[in-house]
């Protein structure tokens, strides 16, 4: 399955070919950072930005990139953008940067980005690449927003708490509230296992919707994503 996904150069789309929900790529930051919606948004937007920039770069440089070393090139390109982004965030959004911590530099080896470079950017014109990266990036944002709002809601019963973090640092400092920690309903949702499980349930929900949609549109019997090999009665 995985290799197939990897090789699939299916058109990217936030729903049918979502990098996180369908291809299971770039899970590390998604799982770790999705504790609150604000964090999720922050990371999602940063990742999408890096994806856009590096896709365009790779696609413009595609004739010059050595085939053999292309993966190293991808890594270097994403790492450069990530470094720049990291510094910018540190300057302008330092509270958010502190929240996201190590996961900002880790964008450089996010597979959602790298695989898109490999599958699409390396052999397409930059215009098409731009569209592709935008779609994939939005898919990434959709996934991380969905998961983080779910987790935040279950965990603290609130949404968009600490929204000030999304403001530039000097302004955020002005509005930072005292009682930023909402009452905790359950610790569990903020833990990593909950992230795994909730993401699993999200994907299951998506599959359910997909199946329903497919039933409605056509009676054709194509398996979604996964080869389903067992249809036993037990």
């Amino acid at each position: 399955m995985s290799e197939l996904q990897f090789n699939s150069s299916r058109a990217s789309s936030p729903w049918t070919n979502n990098p996180v929900l369908v291809q299971l790529l770039g899970l590390s930051p998604v799982l770790a950072i999705s504790t609150t919606l604000v964090n999720g948004l922050g990371l999602g937007i940063s990742t999408a930005l890096v994806m856009l920039l590096s896709s365009v770069t790779v696609s413009t440089l595609r004739t010059k990139i050595n085939q053999r070393w292309r993966f190293t090139w991808y890594l270097l390109i994403t790492a450069s953008y990530t470094t720049v982004l990291d510094s910018l965030l540190q300057w302008f959004y330092s509270p958010l940067h502190r929240e996201l911590g190590i996961y900002i530099p880790l964008i450089c080896c996010n597979f959602a980005v790298l695989i898109r470079l490999e599958v699409h950017a390396i052999n397409h014109h930059w215009r098409s690449t731009l569209k592709d990266a935008a779609l994939t990036g939005s898919g990434f944002i959709v996934a991380i927003v969905a998961l983080s709002s779910l987790r935040e809601f279950i965990g603290s019963g609130a949404l968009m708490a600490d929204w000030q973090l999304l403001l530039p640092a000097y302004r955020a400092a002005a509005v930072i509230s005292e009682n930023s920690s909402a009452s905790e309903v359950s610790d569990f949702a903020s833990l990593l296992p909950a992230a795994f499980i909730l993401l699993g349930l999200l994907i299951a929900g998506k599959n359910l919707i997909d199946n329903k949609l497919k039933e409605n549109t056509a009676a054709t019997d194509i398996e979604p994503i996964q080869r389903a090999r067992v249809t036993g009665r037990l």
Partner: protein
């Protein structure tokens, strides 16, 4: 794709042994009786109420899940596996846990940890322990407060735990629907009432409890050391019964007990802290026995090859001791068993026995040449 073999031809063997899964499960439940009875004697009706609550919810949830999955409800309920899950879960829960805690745990156990995997036989993790660990992580406070009716004063008057009033009290604690218990929560936790003596040892140090420990066992004194000791004896008896009946194999419990014994002997330090206590304390002072005989041996999620079982037991034993002594969680069995479950498929794969006719040195050289 048809997975059932063609049913037209009745295939050999035509004879079967008279064992059935449903009966095996019932025997497992029966083997729990001595332990549960002792626990009830010491900790009051809360234990039984937990089990009853869990069992009824488990059956309802199991039926719903089967219905949703379009299976034959009666046939699959008859394997009694949901009951076993419920009993183990109920035993693990602190007496006096609120009904919604039980419901939540059982929901996770039956629906998420079992039916989402495809029902009995397919789940990778022990359902009861999944539910329990979920609760432990989500509600650490509630999960470590035990309600013991014996010595509790309600409105200034004390009463016997086994009187009707005691029962009523226990019910009210579990299900506030029946009326609110007039106890504030600190009252419901007394000195004896923590989950395991080891927890106390870890927290309170040695002084008071070791004294109680040395005082010996009495069925009627109802002190916590003796209580846990006898409860564990009960589960040990049940476990030996299961081994005698060949329902579980000896490998897993023996490996666990041996590992725990070895570790506690190795790290035994009489003077430092009670947590480095004697092997006896580690075996009988906590939930080791029920873990070794009833929870880790859940066949579905345990390793199935002989060597795999032994490694599985060793991993669990190490984890039990490690988490109990050095970890910050109070309950080690559940985590250890889940860890064992996590390793089990790999162990099964790596510890395949040598197949007949496959060379004594090389382990299972699979052949690909098949005569047509």
């Amino acid at each position: 794709m048809q997975t059932q073999p063609s049913a037209i031809v009745i295939s050999s063997p035509m004879q079967h042994s008279q064992r059935s899964t449903g009966r095996l499960m019932l025997l497992v439940i029966a083997a729990c009786i001595p332990g549960v009875a002792t626990a009830t004697w010491y900790f009051g009706f809360g234990v039984l109420i937990n089990i009853m609550l869990a069992a009824s919810m488990a059956i309802v949830l199991e039926a719903c899940a089967l219905k949703l999955r379009g299976r034959d409800i009666r046939l699959h309920l008859s394997d009694n596996s949901a009951l076993v899950t419920a009993v183990l879960f109920g035993i693990a829960m602190p007496p006096g846990a609120s009904w919604w805690l039980v419901a939540m745990g059982i929901f996770f156990a039956i629906v998420i940890a079992k039916h989402i995997y495809g029902g009995l036989g397919q789940n990778l993790f022990n359902p009861a322990m999944c539910g329990y660990v979920l609760l432990l992580l989500s509600f650490p406070v509630e999960m470590t407060s035990w309600h013991i009716p014996n010595d509790v004063l309600v409105d200034g008057s004390s009463f016997s735990a086994f009187s009707l009033a005691g029962l009523r009290q226990s019910l009210m604690v579990s299900m506030p629907v029946f009326g609110s218990a007039q106890m504030s929560s600190p009252d419901s936790i007394d000195g004896l009432a923590m989950a395991t003596p080891l927890i106390e040892f870890q927290m309170a140090g040695t002084s008071a409890l070791l004294a109680a420990w040395d005082a010996g066992v009495s069925l009627f004194s109802r002190d916590s050391g003796a209580a846990w000791e006898l409860v564990n004896m009960g589960y040990l008896c049940g476990g030996l019964f299961l081994i005698y009946k060949r329902i579980i194999s000896w490998h897993i419990p023996c490996a666990i007990i041996a590992t725990v014994t070895m570790m506690s002997t190795l790290f035994y330090a009489p003077d430092s802290s009670a947590i480095y206590g004697t092997p006896y304390l580690h075996l009988f002072g906590s939930a080791t026995m029920i873990g070794a005989f009833f929870i880790a041996t859940d066949p579905v999620s345990a390793a199935t090859t002989v060597r795999g079982k032994i490694y599985y037991g060793i991993i669990i034993g190490l984890a039990i001791y490690g988490i109990r002594v050095w970890g910050s969680y109070l309950d080690s069995i559940a985590f250890a068993v889940l860890l064992g479950n996590f390793c089990a498929p790999a162990l099964d794969y790596l510890c395949r026995p040598r197949i007949y006719g496959h060379g004594k040195k090389s382990r299972s050289v699979p052949t690909t040449e098949v005569e047509p």
